[in-house]
């Protein structure tokens, strides 16, 4: 029974594919996988928009959407209909072709990136030898879509927003990839499926997830900060700082093209969270051996929903960074920390297991952190802040 539930999607896919003549089977198998990814994550996107508005509403001491259906649960459907029926306004001076292609150039790579994330046992749509590299490669292509959107709109706010977004994405891509390198070193593989397999098993009751090692903890935190910045989420949402730039690079988009940008941004968030789960949180493995009877795909999506909740919480809590803070944070703290973390992961690999390894690697992470963070803060003594005009 446990096995059946765990593999229910895999077996039903095999059954459906088996119904067709042999020569159609490979194509049909691919179409089924693609359809599953598109439907699952688009539905998750709809749920997330509602959860986010509700959650932000609670944090800001208001109700959030509560008009459409009981507790406002049909709000995503209303939003979708609105986006579909809205007029698609294209500025007269806009570069029509590039303006049209930009949202597609965002959504397609993001769906491709989702394909390599293993969402359950035997449930990676694209199990390639260099899966993590594939993820980062297609992720890099989204930067171009941001540029296309900003440039083709012929609007200075769009262009400024695009420049900010690309500068931010390039800056945070470096610590994102470098913090993932530690896991690749530890697992000895670039394949997302093999990385999840390497985290199977338990030390006593503690799962063998990479996040539960000194370098894994540091890498996970670095990875998630960089992922927040990569997906332009608060507190790194300067590219769409509405008080300065209207809506950033998609100022001149309306109707369904705007919805596509919205979708692409959330799917990017799911993809990068899914990769974080795969790399550091044991993928679809259960946190306790006694909970192994719950299907693997449920664990993956439970972890993903926890991530989404954390992102909503952070968005409701933290104020937006300034551009110079954003850049110096990336280059003066995140980058050196990611590099020293690689050193710590190497030390962990070659030191004999035991308490010395724990202490040594923790020191290798903690001491540089204190030094770099101190350098970033400018070694100013902590004093009570004096407000000149705000009293």
């Amino acid at each position: 029974m446990v096995e059946t539930m765990d593999q229910i999607f895999v077996t039903s896919k095999h059954w459906l594919v088996g119904l067709l003549p042999t020569q159609c089977q490979p194509v049909f198998s691919v179409i089924l996988s693609v359809a599953a990814i598109v439907i699952t994550f688009a539905t998750l996107f709809a749920i997330t928009t509602l959860l986010e508005r509700k959650g932000l509403g609670r944090i800001q001491n208001r109700y959030g959407p509560n008009r459409v259906g009981p507790y406002g649960i049909f709000q995503p459907i209303a939003d979708g209909l609105k986006a579909l029926t809205k007029e698609d306004v294209v500025p007269r001076t806009a570069d029509k072709v590039v303006h049209y292609l930009a949202p597609l150039a965002l959504v397609v790579p993001v769906f491709l990136a989702l394909a390599v994330v293993p969402v359950g046992r035997n449930m990676a749509a694209l199990d390639v030898d260099a899966g993590v590299l594939f993820f980062f490669a297609v992720g890099a292509a989204t930067e171009l879509s941001v540029f296309m959107a900003g440039w083709s709109s012929r609007n200075k706010y769009s262009l400024l927003g695009a420049m900010r977004a690309i500068a931010q994405m390039i800056s945070y891509e470096v610590p994102l990839i470098l913090s993932a390198v530690t896991v690749i070193m530890a697992a000895g593989s670039l394949s997302a499926v093999k990385i999840v397999e390497a985290q199977a098993g338990y030390w006593g009751i503690i799962p063998r997830w990479y996040v539960l090692t000194p370098w894994g903890m540091a890498g996970f935190i670095l990875f998630m900060i960089a992922a927040t910045a990569e997906s332009n989420r608060s507190p790194f949402d300067l590219p769409e700082g509405e008080s300065e730039l209207i809506a950033g690079y998609y100022t001149e988009y309306s109707g369904f093209k705007f919805a596509l940008f919205f979708l692409g941004e959330y799917l990017g968030l799911f993809a990068v969270s899914g990769l974080g789960i795969t790399l550091f949180l044991g993928g679809w493995h259960a946190p306790l051996a006694s909970l192994g009877w719950i299907p693997s795909w449920m664990w993956f999506f439970a972890k993903l929903l926890v991530f989404i909740a954390a992102f909503i919480w952070v968005r409701g809590t933290l104020p937006r960074l300034r551009l110079d803070q954003l850049m110096s944070f990336a280059w003066r703290l995140m980058l050196p920390m990611a590099l020293t973390n690689i050193l710590a992961a190497g030390a962990w690999r070659f030191m004999p297991a035991g308490i010395t390894r724990w202490i040594g690697c923790s020191l290798l992470v903690a001491v540089p952190y204190v030094l770099f963070a101190g350098a970033l803060a400018g070694r100013k003594p902590l004093v009570k802040r004096e407000y000149k005009y705000a009293d």
């Binding site: 570069d95 390639v128 030898d129 171009l144 690309i166 670039l190």
Partner: protein
Amino acid sequence: MPWPFAIIATLTIASAVAAMSLRSLVHCALALTIAFAGLAAFYLQLEAQFVGFAQILVYIGAVAILIVFAILLTRSDEPPRRSRFSSAGAAGVGIAVIVFGLLTGLILSSGAVRPEIRPPPEVTVGQIGNQLMTRFILPLEVIGLLLTAALIGAVIIAMREKDEG
């Protein structure tokens, strides 16, 4: 000629031609990006996953972005008035034909295009990594040094401007 190869080749060549002949520089850069993606597709078709993904990561993720940034920061993207083809076009074509003929002759005489078909080697990313860290460690280090020097040089050039202003 197999169909996927034909499609990818047509797309790559068409976008490469577009990159040379479109009027707006940004359009040229975007067409060049499609040509890069076509090359990546070729590598993937040849079962060279690592090279293919690295091509996307480096060329589309970094080089193309660098090009569009350079275009945006240095000049307006107004299409130039006069023809972009220089007056020395005929000489250029001549030189191109000579170089192409020379290279073709050399390649054909070198024996690198022997018609024997060997089974494609199964190369994993791990093997490439091992080779880079053992047999090709010196070239790797030299390239690393070169890139670091270039990086430091770029920073120094950027800094000097700040001091004068």
